[in-house]
């Protein structure tokens, strides 16, 4: 039985965090400004008032400190959920994430687990200053020991944050910050999908579009325009960047024969590159055209006034669709 509620993603995350905290006393939140302020995006609004300052901790302003102490708390039996304020601020914690958090289970020969979630608001479209609009997923998806997921809808945000928290492995949870505010239906009774699964967001027959996070809404927009022009486009929502659920991707490519991967991150050595290579290996005879990538350019994320040029939009996606169809 479904129980639908229309929520923006930020509220859906807030509800998901609340459910996780109600469900397990060991779940604690840590981060900068997440207490009385509720985080700069208000994702944790009201949670400190409800659960107290011991379970919703405003930390000193030090990202390595947040992740490093979260590791210690996890060793103590807690399930910390860390908020990194913006994508570009995760790098001071990079060592603790990649050299410690990701490897401690392996280093202990399986003797311990590391149930830590790192929430990172990521991506562009918000007109912000440098370090506030980046897409760092490739660094983490490239790191053995981490899981990396990114929801595109309020419904997925609500469930995926709970599933990430209940995972015994560290999870990098990338929140598409430009999608924090649009509302969507959240079914609080039915999860629908497991955490690490690729979803079909729209069915089609001629070209497959694949993306995650904020890119999914761009792909759906492109599919709508393509439909008006008589082209049937399938849209896949990647959802999990590590591990990648290739089953639905290969199934779709075998049907359409064409794949366009879109992402905000720079394209070189990216998650899209990895998927393109794997699809070429596993579905070569199904392909009618080369797998194409539509990405941010391999430049630093530009000043805000140029971001609409840098970020893939429906037109750039459709240009790639045309190229794939014309091949």
């Amino acid at each position: 039985m479904s129980e639908l509620e229309s929520l923006p993603m930020a509220k859906a995350l807030n509800s998901g965090l609340r459910q996780a905290m109600l469900h397990d006393q060991k779940v604690i939140l840590m981060g900068e400004d997440i207490g009385p302020l509720g985080g700069v995006f208000r994702v944790t609004e009201g949670l400190q008032a409800e659960f107290g300052a011991n379970r919703v901790m405003d930390t000193p302003l030090a990202e390595s400190g947040i992740v490093g102490t979260a590791i210690g708390l996890a060793l103590r039996g807690y399930r910390p959920v860390c908020e990194i304020q913006f994508d570009g601020f995760v790098y001071p914690a990079f060592d603790q994430i990649t050299s410690q958090l990701a490897k401690l289970t392996n280093r202990h020969e399986g003797g311990i687990s590391m149930p830590v979630v790192i929430r990172i608001p990521y991506g562009g479209h918000i007109g912000a200053v440098e370090h506030h609009q980046e897409s760092p997923e490739a660094y983490f998806a490239h790191t053995p020991g981490l899981r990396v997921v990114s929801p595109s809808t309020p419904h997925d945000a609500y469930w995926m944050i709970q599933d990430a928290i209940s995972s015994d492995d560290p999870v990098i949870f990338l929140e598409p910050k430009s999608r924090y505010w649009p509302k969507g239906d959240v079914d609080t009774a039915e999860r629908g999908r497991t955490l690490h699964s690729t979803a079909v967001a729209r069915e089609g027959t001629e070209v497959t579009l694949l993306g995650h996070g904020a890119m999914v809404s761009v792909l759906l927009q492109a599919a709508e325009i393509a439909a008006e022009e008589g082209t049937s486009v399938e849209v896949l929502d990647l959802r999990s960047l590590s591990p990648i659920d290739y089953g639905p991707i290969l199934e779709s490519v075998r049907k359409t024969g064409r794949l366009v991967i879109a992402q905000e991150a720079p394209g070189s050595v990216s998650v899209g590159s990895e998927i393109a290579a794997t699809v070429a290996e596993r579905a070569f005879y199904s392909l009618e055209s080369p797998v194409l990538r539509v990405s941010g350019f391999d430049t630093p994320f530009p000043p805000a006034k140029l971001e609409t040029i840098y970020l893939p939009d429906a037109d750039r996606v459709l240009e790639a669709v045309d190229r794939a169809l014309a091949y």
């Binding site: 604690i28 011991n54 930390t59 000193p60 030090a62 390595s64 400190g65 992740v67 490093g68 102490t69 979260a70 590791i71 210690g72 708390l73 996890a74 060793l75 103590r76 039996g77 807690y78 001071p92 060592d95 603790q96 050299s99 410690q100 490897k103 401690l104 289970t105 392996n106 280093r107 202990h108 020969e109 399986g110 003797g111 311990i112 687990s113 590391m114 053995p144 020991g145 899981r147 995972s167 015994d168 492995d169 590590s242 591990p243 990648i244 659920d245």
Partner: protein, 374 residues
């Protein structure tokens, strides 16, 4: 490069107790130690040194990829190690072999790590709360601080019962004090008033860089800037290491907030077996510190108290047996199964890892089949 007016010392290099207004607070703690406990201090220092010498030999003979000696630092480690209570947790760097021995760690675990069989290999839960070694300098101080924050959240410190209240001790070196993580750990510890002792072994050298390059102030004074009480001790004096650690651990477990000890000691050996100290430090300096050796100093003290020749002779035999046992078990260690590489990367199933493990097994099986065919 050596002790100053500020350095707290209970046992002089000549092996005599130092009686002063300043030591008066600490000496009663020492007076409470039984003969058996004092013998145990000495025993662990000697066993650790034997382990160290054996580790160095094994490395030189190709049995170990690397050796990390603790030679010269036994006093700082053994004193602080015995100051802990059973419920306390230890987050070491990678040189705290003596503390591991005190906490019941089978030191073959350290051998396995440095022989290239594992990246860690033991759990704190099964080894006296002695956590695994950390190779990235200072990372463990944040883990220790987080763990101590968890003790506070659990209400397991500051209840007034020292038999059950818990504390954390983290070890790090002078080089690590320049790391951001150590400074962030001090910030978090002060902010959350963790039950935690920061135990800095200042062994004077960060590989080839002297402590003067790390800091223009005595390192224990830095703690004050974080709002953390601190003291500088003679790290080659096992008694002051014990007494100062005991005092601070009891204060912090009682809810007093974090504490900081700088133990002045000396890395008598190389940084690791890959290092060559003759390139950067003088024989005079090493010779000076040799006169301050923690073990010979404590032996003088024990003999002064009337300890028998027999004790030292028996200990010498025990240490030789200990080293021999390590050698025997080291050379018997096999190579881990290839499949181990894939196990434990994640706690939950992961399709990519499972696929690669299966692929490798098939790949290797193909060789076996072709050999049969021949």
């Amino acid at each position: 490069m050596s002790y100053t007016e500020a350095t707290l010392q209970l046992l002089s290099p000549a092996g005599v107790l130092v009686e002063s207004d300043r030591t008066a607070e600490y000496l009663p703690v020492i007076e409470q130690l039984t003969d058996a406990e004092l013998r145990e201090f000495h025993r662990v220092m000697v066993l650790t040194r034997a382990f160290d010498m054996e580790g160095t030999n094994l490395q030189r003979q190709g049995q170990m990829g690397l050796w990390v000696p603790s030679l010269g630092q036994e006093g700082a480690q053994v004193g602080s190690g015995f100051a802990m209570r059973p419920q306390d947790h230890i987050f070491p760097s990678y040189r705290e072999h003596a503390v591991g021995i005190i906490r019941g760690l089978d030191v073959l675990n350290i051998i396995r790590l440095l022989r290239g069989l594992t990246h860690g290999g033991w759990t704190a839960a099964d080894n006296g709360n002695f956590h695994i070694y950390t190779m990235v300098l200072g990372s463990q101080t944040l883990h220790a601080t987080g763990y101590a924050m968890g003790i506070t959240l659990d209400g397991k410190a500051g209840t007034g019962n020292p038999e059950s209240d818990e504390a954390v001790i983290t070890y790090f070196g002078d080089g690590s004090t320049s790391q951001g993580d150590v400074n962030e750990a001090l910030v978090f510890a002060a902010s959350y008033q963790t039950p935690e002792l920061f135990f800095l072994q200042n062994n004077q050298w960060a590989i080839s860089v002297p402590v003067s390059k790390q800091s223009r102030t005595p390192l224990y004074l830095r703690a004050g800037g974080f709002g953390i009480p601190s003291v500088q001790i003679d790290g080659n004096d096992v008694l002051v290491s014990y007494a100062a650690s005991r005092k601070y651990l009891e204060e912090t477990r009682a809810g007093g907030g974090p504490r900081f000890i700088e133990a002045l000691t000396y890395r008598m050996g190389a940084h690791t077996s890959s290092d060559d100290p003759t390139k950067y430090r003088s024989d005079e300096e090493t010779a000076h510190w040799a006169t301050l050796d923690p073990i010979s100093r404590f032996e003088t003290y024990l003999r002064g108290r009337g300890e028998s020749d027999a004790f030292f002779a028996e200990l010498k035999v025990e240490a030789a047996d200990f080293a021999e046992d390590i050698r025997k078990r080291t050379v018997e260690l096999g190579t881990p199964p290839v499949g181990d590489m894939f196990d434990n990367v994640y706690s939950e199933p992961h399709p990519l890892i499972d696929d690669q493990k299966a692929w490798l097994a098939n790949y290797e099986a193909a060789f076996a089949e072709s050999e049969v065919g021949e």
